[in-house]
Symmetry: C2
Subunit: 289 residues, 2 copies
């Protein structure tokens, strides 16, 4: 192949090399939870699901997007917690920290509405096996949709977008972007769910040749925003490894990082990037250098 | 939404605005052709299929990847034509030009092996309704795959990659990238076909919110490289509008550009690009300015 391709220049700054994952295989648990208007119940209910997943062998447990509150612009300010202000101000993340530590598991805590100063964010906290907060990701691309007669929802009405992509090293590998595993706690709906939910997670798995784990709230046909469900684990060829329907469920499935190397050898996409023709620039990293 | 997002900066140079398409609706014909070792037969056979598609109302006809030659590294040098050297040197494109002019249709002529000097390319010619060559696209990302026990194929062994993306204005709209319609003449195989063929075309349609038309050779179980088939038209929400199995077939289906505006309003993806965080740089356009 022509050496003038410069695939190494297709990302500016260069993609960060992923380290060798600290484990090769492990079990992941995706908790597709029912969510009610009762926050205390939601927190206790999530704790039980995490405990059940861990008992079944999960070393990494993923919760859905907005699992402690109804998914609605009216609810976000009411259910929001000040995560940075400490334990009493955020019972949801306090529970996650406690259960991660006591069960010695990693938790990608889906997301909850976060209050910080006068702003609200859709925020995902990652806790390590020692119960410490390893990363806090504020949703960067807010979800706005307007399909007349089908669904109208604008997160941007009440929420502020985060400004930083998140990549975090955990006991079960690097999670995030340019990583071993993409975790996407997401509450798709009955319109874009059947259209795009499985499609987009499979596409991102194939494009990046890694595992994609999605976790949705269970469907509640009576809620204002009806979630699609169908939490799923996708492998690095875009293959659906485990999935479920829309009811509450816990998916336990194996992630085998040793497949990443062969898959990237099988289809050498990274070598085919055309750094002579295009670059994807990470402005944040560029400006921080 | 925060104005600091700078979505307009997410592409450098900025994405070229698509013009209003010269037609709103039209019929597209995808000719999934059987391909043999007999080049003369392949050319005559393609002509018949184009004529049939036009008779059924198609204003744009798309042929498969490598439709005049078996898809193999041994065949490419033997079947290659010198497109730039004129009519006698390229009977395949001469036929396309004649039939485009006589039927007053636009043809995306799939691809044929092209010889240019001492190099071979996988080249797609686009002919306008006047029979003139409007664009010649040399495949930029060559297809290399190596899945032991399943499939090994390396286009890069014999072919040279092209160096220029192609966007062409035709009587049926702008075809290419940042356009109204992506045309992908592709010969997927029995391994990556079931895995990725429909997935990737639907993903690109959703990501870019436009029509994607793919055209494969028909499957020939006896050939060295067995094509997957399943030529397909996908709409701007990723919906499969028309498809077929693996046998020879002509798909006739409607493209309605008037859906592009509403779809882009329904899911305002372009407004959500984070030009503050990342840029996709078109180095070719940047360097030519």
């Amino acid at each position: 192949m022509a050496s003038s391709f410069s695939p190494e220049k297709s990302r500016v700054p260069p993609a960060i090399e992923s380290p060798v994952p600290p484990v090769s295989k492990f079990m992941i648990g995706l908790c597709q939870l029912s969510v009610t208007a009762d926050k205390e119940r939601n927190i206790a209910h999530a704790r039980l699901a995490i405990e059940e997943a861990a008992e079944k062998g999960a070393k990494l447990v993923v919760l859905p997007e907005i699992w402690n509150s109804p998914y609605s612009n009216d609810s976000f300010p009411v259910y929001a917690e000040d995560i940075d202000a400490g334990a009493d101000s955020s019972p949801s993340t306090t529970m996650l920290s406690e259960v991660a530590c006591s069960l010695k598991i990693t938790i990608v805590g889906g997301s909850i509405p976060e209050r910080s100063g006068d702003k609200l964010y859709n925020t995902c906290c990652v806790f390590g096996t020692d119960g410490k907060l390893k990363a806090k990701h504020r949703k960067i691309h807010l979800f706005d949709i307007n399909i007349p007669g089908k669904i109208v929802f604008e997160e941007s009405k009440t929420l502020t977008a985060g400004g930083t992509p998140t990549v975090v090293d955990t006991d079960v590998g690097r999670i995030g972007i340019g990583a071993h595993l993409l975790c996407y706690p997401g509450a798709f709906n009955m319109t874009s769910g059947p259209l795009h939910w499985e499609l987009l997670q499979r596409a991102r798995a194939v494009d990046n040749q890694l595992y994609v784990a999605t976790c949705s709230p269970a469907r509640d046909a009576g809620s204002e925003y009806v979630a699609w469900g169908h939490s799923t684990l996708v492998g690095p060829f875009g293959e659906v490894l485990a999935t479920t329907e829309h009811d509450e469920a816990i998916i336990i499935s194996e992630i085998d990082y040793s497949l990443l190397g062969p898959r990237r050898t099988n289809l050498p996409l990274q070598k085919q990037l055309r750094g002579d023709l295009y670059s994807l620039v990470d402005l944040q990293r560029l400006n921080s250098q």
